[in-house]
Symmetry: C2
Subunit: 238 residues, 2 copies
Protein backbone atom coordinates (compact mmCIF):
# COMPACT_ATOMS: atom_id res chain seq x y z
CA UNK A 1 0.00 0.00 0.00
CA UNK A 2 1.15 3.51 -0.84
CA UNK A 3 0.11 6.53 1.21
CA UNK A 4 0.72 10.13 0.17
CA UNK A 5 0.44 12.88 2.78
CA UNK A 6 0.48 16.56 1.76
CA UNK A 7 2.87 18.65 3.88
CA UNK A 8 0.85 21.72 4.82
CA UNK A 9 1.88 24.61 7.05
CA UNK A 10 5.36 25.13 5.57
CA UNK A 11 6.39 28.74 6.21
CA UNK A 12 6.74 30.98 3.14
CA UNK A 13 10.23 30.30 1.79
CA UNK A 14 12.58 33.20 1.06
CA UNK A 15 16.08 33.31 -0.47
CA UNK A 16 18.62 32.01 2.02
CA UNK A 17 16.10 30.05 4.09
CA UNK A 18 17.07 26.59 5.31
CA UNK A 19 14.45 24.57 3.44
CA UNK A 20 15.35 21.32 5.22
CA UNK A 21 14.73 23.00 8.55
CA UNK A 22 11.44 24.54 7.34
CA UNK A 23 10.19 21.13 6.19
CA UNK A 24 11.37 19.55 9.44
CA UNK A 25 9.44 22.11 11.51
CA UNK A 26 6.28 21.64 9.44
CA UNK A 27 6.55 17.83 9.71
CA UNK A 28 7.10 17.98 13.49
CA UNK A 29 4.03 20.22 13.91
CA UNK A 30 1.94 17.91 11.72
CA UNK A 31 3.33 14.85 13.53
CA UNK A 32 2.30 16.23 16.93
CA UNK A 33 -1.33 16.29 15.79
CA UNK A 34 -1.29 13.19 13.55
CA UNK A 35 1.26 10.43 14.07
CA UNK A 36 1.10 9.44 10.39
CA UNK A 37 3.20 12.52 9.70
CA UNK A 38 6.11 11.20 11.77
CA UNK A 39 8.63 10.14 9.13
CA UNK A 40 9.40 6.42 8.91
CA UNK A 41 12.23 4.43 7.37
CA UNK A 42 12.18 4.69 3.55
CA UNK A 43 9.57 7.44 3.40
CA UNK A 44 10.11 9.61 0.33
CA UNK A 45 9.66 13.38 0.66
CA UNK A 46 8.75 14.98 -2.67
CA UNK A 47 9.50 18.71 -2.75
CA UNK A 48 8.50 21.08 -5.54
CA UNK A 49 11.24 22.80 -7.50
CA UNK A 50 9.68 26.17 -6.75
CA UNK A 51 10.47 26.19 -3.04
CA UNK A 52 13.91 24.71 -3.65
CA UNK A 53 14.67 27.47 -6.15
CA UNK A 54 13.32 30.14 -3.79
CA UNK A 55 15.41 28.90 -0.86
CA UNK A 56 18.48 28.80 -3.08
CA UNK A 57 17.91 32.36 -4.26
CA UNK A 58 17.33 31.34 -7.88
CA UNK A 59 15.07 34.35 -8.45
CA UNK A 60 15.95 36.81 -11.18
CA UNK A 61 14.61 40.33 -11.47
CA UNK A 62 13.06 41.02 -14.86
CA UNK A 63 10.85 43.82 -16.13
CA UNK A 64 7.35 42.38 -15.66
CA UNK A 65 6.03 44.69 -18.39
CA UNK A 66 8.51 43.48 -21.02
CA UNK A 67 6.78 40.62 -22.82
CA UNK A 68 10.07 39.27 -24.12
CA UNK A 69 11.92 39.26 -20.77
CA UNK A 70 10.66 35.79 -19.80
CA UNK A 71 11.66 34.30 -23.16
CA UNK A 72 15.07 35.97 -23.06
CA UNK A 73 15.66 34.41 -19.64
CA UNK A 74 14.55 30.99 -20.96
CA UNK A 75 17.00 31.32 -23.84
CA UNK A 76 19.83 32.29 -21.50
CA UNK A 77 19.20 29.14 -19.41
CA UNK A 78 19.20 26.83 -22.45
CA UNK A 79 22.05 24.86 -23.95
CA UNK A 80 19.88 24.00 -26.95
CA UNK A 81 16.56 25.16 -28.40
CA UNK A 82 14.59 22.20 -29.77
CA UNK A 83 11.41 23.90 -30.96
CA UNK A 84 9.87 27.33 -31.00
CA UNK A 85 6.29 28.26 -31.77
CA UNK A 86 4.78 31.63 -30.91
CA UNK A 87 5.65 32.34 -27.28
CA UNK A 88 6.59 28.73 -26.58
CA UNK A 89 10.22 27.61 -26.45
CA UNK A 90 11.10 23.93 -25.89
CA UNK A 91 14.72 23.85 -24.75
CA UNK A 92 17.35 21.71 -23.10
CA UNK A 93 18.82 22.87 -19.79
CA UNK A 94 22.41 22.50 -18.59
CA UNK A 95 21.30 19.54 -16.47
CA UNK A 96 19.86 17.88 -19.59
CA UNK A 97 16.13 18.41 -19.02
CA UNK A 98 14.04 19.14 -22.09
CA UNK A 99 11.09 21.33 -21.15
CA UNK A 100 9.24 24.56 -21.86
CA UNK A 101 11.20 27.78 -21.30
CA UNK A 102 14.18 25.95 -19.73
CA UNK A 103 12.03 25.44 -16.64
CA UNK A 104 11.85 29.19 -15.93
CA UNK A 105 8.57 29.76 -14.16
CA UNK A 106 6.67 32.93 -13.38
CA UNK A 107 3.74 31.58 -11.35
CA UNK A 108 3.86 31.26 -7.57
CA UNK A 109 6.78 33.71 -7.35
CA UNK A 110 6.65 37.44 -6.77
CA UNK A 111 5.70 39.36 -9.93
CA UNK A 112 8.80 40.26 -11.91
CA UNK A 113 10.95 37.64 -10.13
CA UNK A 114 10.75 34.38 -12.09
CA UNK A 115 12.41 31.32 -10.55
CA UNK A 116 15.15 29.48 -12.41
CA UNK A 117 15.71 25.76 -11.85
CA UNK A 118 18.18 24.91 -9.06
CA UNK A 119 21.80 24.91 -10.25
CA UNK A 120 22.13 21.24 -9.33
CA UNK A 121 18.83 19.65 -8.33
CA UNK A 122 20.46 16.38 -7.27
CA UNK A 123 22.65 18.32 -4.84
CA UNK A 124 19.53 20.10 -3.53
CA UNK A 125 17.87 16.71 -3.05
CA UNK A 126 20.95 15.31 -1.27
CA UNK A 127 21.01 18.22 1.19
CA UNK A 128 17.35 17.66 2.06
CA UNK A 129 17.94 13.90 2.28
CA UNK A 130 20.78 14.42 4.77
CA UNK A 131 18.90 17.02 6.80
CA UNK A 132 15.65 15.03 7.10
CA UNK A 133 17.36 11.66 7.68
CA UNK A 134 19.45 13.18 10.48
CA UNK A 135 16.56 15.15 11.97
CA UNK A 136 14.19 12.18 12.14
CA UNK A 137 16.68 9.34 12.60
CA UNK A 138 15.37 7.34 9.63
CA UNK A 139 16.48 6.94 6.03
CA UNK A 140 14.41 9.43 4.00
CA UNK A 141 14.40 9.51 0.20
CA UNK A 142 13.98 12.89 -1.51
CA UNK A 143 12.64 13.84 -4.93
CA UNK A 144 12.71 17.42 -6.24
CA UNK A 145 9.76 17.65 -8.64
CA UNK A 146 8.82 19.98 -11.46
CA UNK A 147 5.85 20.20 -13.82
CA UNK A 148 6.72 19.39 -17.44
CA UNK A 149 4.77 18.91 -20.65
CA UNK A 150 5.42 16.09 -23.04
CA UNK A 151 5.12 15.55 -26.78
CA UNK A 152 2.05 13.71 -28.12
CA UNK A 153 0.09 13.96 -24.88
CA UNK A 154 -1.90 16.96 -23.67
CA UNK A 155 -1.57 18.16 -20.11
CA UNK A 156 1.42 18.37 -17.82
CA UNK A 157 2.61 15.97 -15.15
CA UNK A 158 5.12 16.29 -12.33
CA UNK A 159 8.47 14.62 -12.91
CA UNK A 160 11.70 14.28 -10.94
CA UNK A 161 14.59 16.69 -11.54
CA UNK A 162 16.49 15.84 -8.33
CA UNK A 163 16.78 12.53 -6.46
CA UNK A 164 18.60 11.38 -3.32
CA UNK A 165 18.44 8.33 -1.09
CA UNK A 166 16.40 6.21 -3.53
CA UNK A 167 16.95 4.83 -7.01
CA UNK A 168 15.64 7.07 -9.80
CA UNK A 169 15.12 4.04 -12.04
CA UNK A 170 14.19 0.47 -11.21
CA UNK A 171 16.23 -1.78 -13.43
CA UNK A 172 14.18 -4.92 -14.02
CA UNK A 173 16.61 -6.58 -16.42
CA UNK A 174 16.67 -10.27 -15.64
CA UNK A 175 13.33 -10.08 -13.80
CA UNK A 176 10.60 -12.40 -14.97
CA UNK A 177 6.85 -12.03 -15.18
CA UNK A 178 4.23 -14.23 -13.46
CA UNK A 179 4.78 -16.94 -16.09
CA UNK A 180 8.56 -16.92 -15.89
CA UNK A 181 9.31 -14.94 -19.05
CA UNK A 182 11.84 -12.16 -18.97
CA UNK A 183 10.16 -8.74 -18.72
CA UNK A 184 10.30 -6.62 -21.87
CA UNK A 185 10.02 -3.48 -19.85
CA UNK A 186 13.44 -3.10 -18.30
CA UNK A 187 13.62 0.27 -16.58
CA UNK A 188 10.84 2.01 -14.69
CA UNK A 189 11.28 5.69 -13.90
CA UNK A 190 10.07 5.37 -10.33
CA UNK A 191 11.27 8.85 -9.34
CA UNK A 192 8.99 10.32 -12.01
CA UNK A 193 6.11 8.16 -10.78
CA UNK A 194 6.74 9.35 -7.21
CA UNK A 195 6.67 12.98 -8.41
CA UNK A 196 3.40 12.36 -10.31
CA UNK A 197 1.83 10.60 -7.34
CA UNK A 198 2.81 13.44 -4.99
CA UNK A 199 1.24 16.01 -7.33
CA UNK A 200 -2.14 14.31 -6.85
CA UNK A 201 -1.89 15.01 -3.11
CA UNK A 202 -0.48 18.55 -3.43
CA UNK A 203 -2.49 20.05 -6.28
CA UNK A 204 -1.41 23.23 -8.00
CA UNK A 205 -3.39 26.06 -6.46
CA UNK A 206 -3.03 25.51 -2.72
CA UNK A 207 0.68 26.26 -2.55
CA UNK A 208 1.53 22.98 -0.81
CA UNK A 209 5.27 22.55 -1.42
CA UNK A 210 5.87 18.93 -0.40
CA UNK A 211 4.32 15.51 0.20
CA UNK A 212 5.42 12.37 2.03
CA UNK A 213 5.10 9.12 0.03
CA UNK A 214 5.04 6.03 2.25
CA UNK A 215 5.21 2.42 1.13
CA UNK A 216 7.56 2.80 -1.82
CA UNK A 217 9.89 -0.21 -1.96
CA UNK A 218 13.24 0.75 -3.51
CA UNK A 219 14.91 -1.85 -5.73
CA UNK A 220 18.63 -1.30 -5.95
CA UNK A 221 21.00 1.35 -4.62
CA UNK A 222 20.22 5.07 -4.42
CA UNK A 223 20.73 7.01 -7.62
CA UNK A 224 20.30 10.53 -8.94
CA UNK A 225 17.99 12.29 -11.35
CA UNK A 226 20.88 12.41 -13.81
CA UNK A 227 20.19 8.68 -14.31
CA UNK A 228 16.92 9.74 -15.99
CA UNK A 229 18.55 12.07 -18.53
CA UNK A 230 18.55 10.17 -21.79
CA UNK A 231 21.88 10.67 -23.55
CA UNK A 232 21.31 12.55 -26.83
CA UNK A 233 22.95 9.69 -28.75
CA UNK A 234 20.23 7.29 -27.51
CA UNK A 235 17.46 9.78 -28.15
CA UNK A 236 15.33 9.49 -31.28
CA UNK A 237 13.66 12.88 -30.76
CA UNK A 238 16.50 15.35 -30.29
CA UNK B 1 -4.31 12.25 1.59
CA UNK B 2 -4.04 9.72 -1.22
CA UNK B 3 -4.04 5.97 -0.56
CA UNK B 4 -3.22 3.35 -3.18
CA UNK B 5 -4.20 -0.28 -2.54
CA UNK B 6 -2.97 -3.07 -4.82
CA UNK B 7 -5.74 -5.42 -5.91
CA UNK B 8 -4.32 -8.89 -5.35
CA UNK B 9 -6.02 -12.23 -5.85
CA UNK B 10 -7.60 -11.47 -9.23
CA UNK B 11 -8.16 -14.77 -11.07
CA UNK B 12 -6.08 -15.35 -14.22
CA UNK B 13 -7.95 -13.55 -17.02
CA UNK B 14 -8.74 -15.40 -20.25
CA UNK B 15 -10.40 -14.23 -23.49
CA UNK B 16 -14.12 -13.74 -22.98
CA UNK B 17 -13.88 -13.34 -19.22
CA UNK B 18 -15.96 -10.64 -17.55
CA UNK B 19 -13.15 -8.48 -16.17
CA UNK B 20 -15.50 -6.24 -14.20
CA UNK B 21 -16.89 -9.29 -12.43
CA UNK B 22 -13.38 -10.67 -11.76
CA UNK B 23 -12.29 -7.36 -10.21
CA UNK B 24 -15.51 -7.19 -8.20
CA UNK B 25 -14.96 -10.69 -6.78
CA UNK B 26 -11.34 -9.90 -5.86
CA UNK B 27 -12.38 -6.61 -4.21
CA UNK B 28 -15.17 -8.31 -2.23
CA UNK B 29 -12.76 -10.98 -0.98
CA UNK B 30 -10.18 -8.35 -0.03
CA UNK B 31 -12.90 -6.20 1.56
CA UNK B 32 -14.06 -9.06 3.76
CA UNK B 33 -10.59 -9.25 5.33
CA UNK B 34 -9.73 -5.53 5.25
CA UNK B 35 -12.44 -2.89 5.16
CA UNK B 36 -10.14 -0.45 3.36
CA UNK B 37 -10.76 -2.49 0.22
CA UNK B 38 -14.50 -1.73 0.25
CA UNK B 39 -14.88 0.80 -2.56
CA UNK B 40 -15.94 4.30 -1.57
CA UNK B 41 -17.42 7.23 -3.48
CA UNK B 42 -14.91 8.65 -5.99
CA UNK B 43 -12.38 5.84 -5.62
CA UNK B 44 -10.46 5.34 -8.85
CA UNK B 45 -9.69 1.79 -10.00
CA UNK B 46 -6.61 1.68 -12.23
CA UNK B 47 -6.49 -1.47 -14.38
CA UNK B 48 -3.56 -2.51 -16.56
CA UNK B 49 -4.07 -2.71 -20.30
CA UNK B 50 -2.80 -6.25 -20.28
CA UNK B 51 -5.76 -7.78 -18.45
CA UNK B 52 -8.20 -5.61 -20.38
CA UNK B 53 -6.70 -6.84 -23.66
CA UNK B 54 -6.74 -10.44 -22.46
CA UNK B 55 -10.40 -10.28 -21.40
CA UNK B 56 -11.30 -8.70 -24.73
CA UNK B 57 -9.50 -11.44 -26.66
CA UNK B 58 -6.93 -9.05 -28.14
CA UNK B 59 -4.35 -11.84 -28.36
CA UNK B 60 -2.85 -12.68 -31.72
CA UNK B 61 -1.05 -15.89 -32.57
CA UNK B 62 2.42 -15.29 -34.01
CA UNK B 63 5.35 -17.60 -34.62
CA UNK B 64 7.44 -17.13 -31.44
CA UNK B 65 10.56 -18.20 -33.34
CA UNK B 66 10.17 -15.57 -36.07
CA UNK B 67 12.15 -12.54 -34.86
CA UNK B 68 10.26 -10.23 -37.21
CA UNK B 69 6.73 -11.36 -36.28
CA UNK B 70 6.46 -8.93 -33.35
CA UNK B 71 7.60 -5.99 -35.46
CA UNK B 72 5.26 -6.93 -38.32
CA UNK B 73 2.38 -6.93 -35.86
CA UNK B 74 3.47 -3.53 -34.49
CA UNK B 75 3.52 -2.14 -38.04
CA UNK B 76 0.07 -3.55 -38.78
CA UNK B 77 -1.31 -1.78 -35.68
CA UNK B 78 0.23 1.60 -36.60
CA UNK B 79 -1.28 4.48 -38.52
CA UNK B 80 2.11 6.18 -38.66
CA UNK B 81 5.73 5.21 -37.96
CA UNK B 82 7.58 8.09 -36.28
CA UNK B 83 11.01 6.55 -35.73
CA UNK B 84 12.77 3.28 -36.25
CA UNK B 85 16.12 2.18 -34.85
CA UNK B 86 17.25 -1.43 -34.84
CA UNK B 87 14.42 -3.50 -33.38
CA UNK B 88 12.64 -0.46 -31.99
CA UNK B 89 9.65 1.11 -33.73
CA UNK B 90 7.99 4.26 -32.34
CA UNK B 91 4.55 4.46 -33.90
CA UNK B 92 1.15 6.08 -33.59
CA UNK B 93 -1.87 3.86 -32.95
CA UNK B 94 -5.39 4.29 -34.32
CA UNK B 95 -6.42 5.80 -30.99
CA UNK B 96 -3.63 8.38 -31.31
CA UNK B 97 -1.10 7.02 -28.80
CA UNK B 98 2.55 7.36 -29.72
CA UNK B 99 4.54 4.51 -28.19
CA UNK B 100 6.93 1.64 -28.88
CA UNK B 101 5.64 -1.11 -31.17
CA UNK B 102 2.09 0.34 -31.28
CA UNK B 103 1.65 -0.93 -27.73
CA UNK B 104 1.98 -4.58 -28.80
CA UNK B 105 3.40 -6.40 -25.83
CA UNK B 106 4.87 -9.86 -25.51
CA UNK B 107 5.54 -10.05 -21.76
CA UNK B 108 2.98 -11.40 -19.28
CA UNK B 109 1.04 -13.15 -22.07
CA UNK B 110 1.42 -16.74 -23.23
CA UNK B 111 4.49 -17.20 -25.44
CA UNK B 112 3.57 -16.64 -29.08
CA UNK B 113 0.39 -14.71 -28.20
CA UNK B 114 1.21 -11.03 -27.91
CA UNK B 115 -1.54 -8.72 -26.68
CA UNK B 116 -2.73 -5.80 -28.80
CA UNK B 117 -4.14 -2.66 -27.19
CA UNK B 118 -7.90 -2.71 -26.62
CA UNK B 119 -9.85 -1.57 -29.69
CA UNK B 120 -11.32 1.34 -27.73
CA UNK B 121 -9.76 1.74 -24.29
CA UNK B 122 -12.22 4.44 -23.22
CA UNK B 123 -15.07 2.03 -23.94
CA UNK B 124 -13.27 -0.64 -21.89
CA UNK B 125 -12.91 1.87 -19.05
CA UNK B 126 -16.58 2.86 -19.29
CA UNK B 127 -17.70 -0.78 -19.03
CA UNK B 128 -15.62 -1.28 -15.89
CA UNK B 129 -16.84 2.05 -14.49
CA UNK B 130 -20.47 0.98 -14.94
CA UNK B 131 -19.90 -2.52 -13.59
CA UNK B 132 -18.01 -1.45 -10.47
CA UNK B 133 -20.24 1.57 -9.73
CA UNK B 134 -23.33 -0.63 -9.95
CA UNK B 135 -21.78 -3.52 -8.00
CA UNK B 136 -20.62 -1.37 -5.09
CA UNK B 137 -23.27 1.36 -5.16
CA UNK B 138 -20.72 4.19 -5.33
CA UNK B 139 -19.32 6.32 -8.15
CA UNK B 140 -16.05 4.65 -9.19
CA UNK B 141 -13.60 6.22 -11.65
CA UNK B 142 -11.62 3.91 -13.92
CA UNK B 143 -8.26 4.34 -15.64
CA UNK B 144 -6.87 1.75 -18.08
CA UNK B 145 -3.09 2.09 -17.82
CA UNK B 146 -0.19 1.09 -20.02
CA UNK B 147 3.58 1.42 -19.72
CA UNK B 148 5.11 3.85 -22.21
CA UNK B 149 8.53 5.34 -22.79
CA UNK B 150 9.10 9.01 -23.51
CA UNK B 151 11.63 11.07 -25.44
CA UNK B 152 14.47 12.74 -23.53
CA UNK B 153 13.93 10.75 -20.33
CA UNK B 154 15.14 7.24 -19.60
CA UNK B 155 12.83 4.69 -18.06
CA UNK B 156 9.16 4.03 -18.62
CA UNK B 157 6.13 5.18 -16.64
CA UNK B 158 2.52 4.10 -16.60
CA UNK B 159 0.09 6.41 -18.38
CA UNK B 160 -3.65 6.40 -19.05
CA UNK B 161 -5.04 5.03 -22.33
CA UNK B 162 -8.64 4.69 -21.13
CA UNK B 163 -10.62 6.86 -18.70
CA UNK B 164 -14.19 6.82 -17.37
CA UNK B 165 -16.02 8.50 -14.52
CA UNK B 166 -13.29 11.09 -13.85
CA UNK B 167 -11.70 13.93 -15.80
CA UNK B 168 -8.56 12.95 -17.71
CA UNK B 169 -7.25 16.51 -17.47
CA UNK B 170 -7.68 19.14 -14.79
CA UNK B 171 -8.18 22.44 -16.54
CA UNK B 172 -6.80 25.13 -14.22
CA UNK B 173 -7.38 28.06 -16.57
CA UNK B 174 -8.56 30.97 -14.49
CA UNK B 175 -7.19 29.44 -11.27
CA UNK B 176 -4.80 31.53 -9.25
CA UNK B 177 -1.78 30.67 -7.16
CA UNK B 178 -1.28 31.40 -3.45
CA UNK B 179 -0.47 35.05 -4.27
CA UNK B 180 -3.44 35.57 -6.58
CA UNK B 181 -1.63 35.34 -9.92
CA UNK B 182 -3.10 33.25 -12.71
CA UNK B 183 -1.43 29.84 -12.96
CA UNK B 184 0.83 29.38 -15.97
CA UNK B 185 0.28 25.66 -15.88
CA UNK B 186 -3.23 25.26 -17.23
CA UNK B 187 -3.87 21.56 -17.75
CA UNK B 188 -2.70 18.72 -15.53
CA UNK B 189 -2.90 15.20 -16.94
CA UNK B 190 -4.34 13.73 -13.74
CA UNK B 191 -5.27 10.42 -15.40
CA UNK B 192 -1.60 9.90 -16.27
CA UNK B 193 -0.60 10.79 -12.70
CA UNK B 194 -3.15 8.28 -11.37
CA UNK B 195 -1.72 5.59 -13.66
CA UNK B 196 1.84 6.39 -12.51
CA UNK B 197 0.82 6.39 -8.85
CA UNK B 198 -0.92 3.03 -9.23
CA UNK B 199 2.18 1.50 -10.83
CA UNK B 200 4.12 2.23 -7.63
CA UNK B 201 1.66 0.02 -5.71
CA UNK B 202 1.42 -2.73 -8.36
CA UNK B 203 4.99 -3.15 -9.54
CA UNK B 204 5.81 -5.03 -12.71
CA UNK B 205 6.81 -8.53 -11.68
CA UNK B 206 4.04 -9.62 -9.31
CA UNK B 207 1.29 -9.73 -11.91
CA UNK B 208 -1.02 -7.44 -9.92
CA UNK B 209 -3.51 -6.15 -12.51
CA UNK B 210 -5.23 -3.29 -10.66
CA UNK B 211 -5.04 -0.80 -7.81
CA UNK B 212 -7.55 1.37 -5.99
CA UNK B 213 -6.59 5.04 -5.63
CA UNK B 214 -8.48 6.80 -2.85
CA UNK B 215 -8.51 10.52 -2.09
CA UNK B 216 -8.33 11.87 -5.62
CA UNK B 217 -10.49 14.99 -5.89
CA UNK B 218 -11.86 15.39 -9.43
CA UNK B 219 -12.14 18.94 -10.77
CA UNK B 220 -14.70 19.19 -13.54
CA UNK B 221 -16.86 16.69 -15.36
CA UNK B 222 -15.77 13.16 -16.35
CA UNK B 223 -13.78 12.91 -19.55
CA UNK B 224 -12.02 10.32 -21.65
CA UNK B 225 -8.45 9.41 -22.46
CA UNK B 226 -9.02 10.87 -25.92
CA UNK B 227 -8.81 14.26 -24.18
CA UNK B 228 -5.11 13.49 -23.61
CA UNK B 229 -4.31 12.82 -27.27
CA UNK B 230 -2.55 15.92 -28.51
CA UNK B 231 -3.84 16.82 -31.97
CA UNK B 232 -0.99 16.47 -34.52
CA UNK B 233 -1.46 20.12 -35.55
CA UNK B 234 -0.63 21.24 -31.97
CA UNK B 235 2.26 18.85 -31.68
CA UNK B 236 5.81 20.10 -32.17
CA UNK B 237 7.33 16.58 -32.26
CA UNK B 238 5.31 14.68 -34.86
Amino acid sequence: MITILPVTGVAEIRPGDDLGRSLEVALRDLGDADERYRLRENDVVVVTQKVVSKAEGRLVAIDPDDPDAHRALARSEAVRILRRRGDLIISETREGWVCAHSGVDVSNVARGYPALLPEDSDRSARRLHHHLSLAFGVHVGVVVSDTFGRPWRRGLTDVAIGVAGIPALHDLRGSTDAEGRELQVTEIAVADELAAAAELAMGKAAGIPAAVVRGFVPLGPPGSARDIVRPPAEDLFR
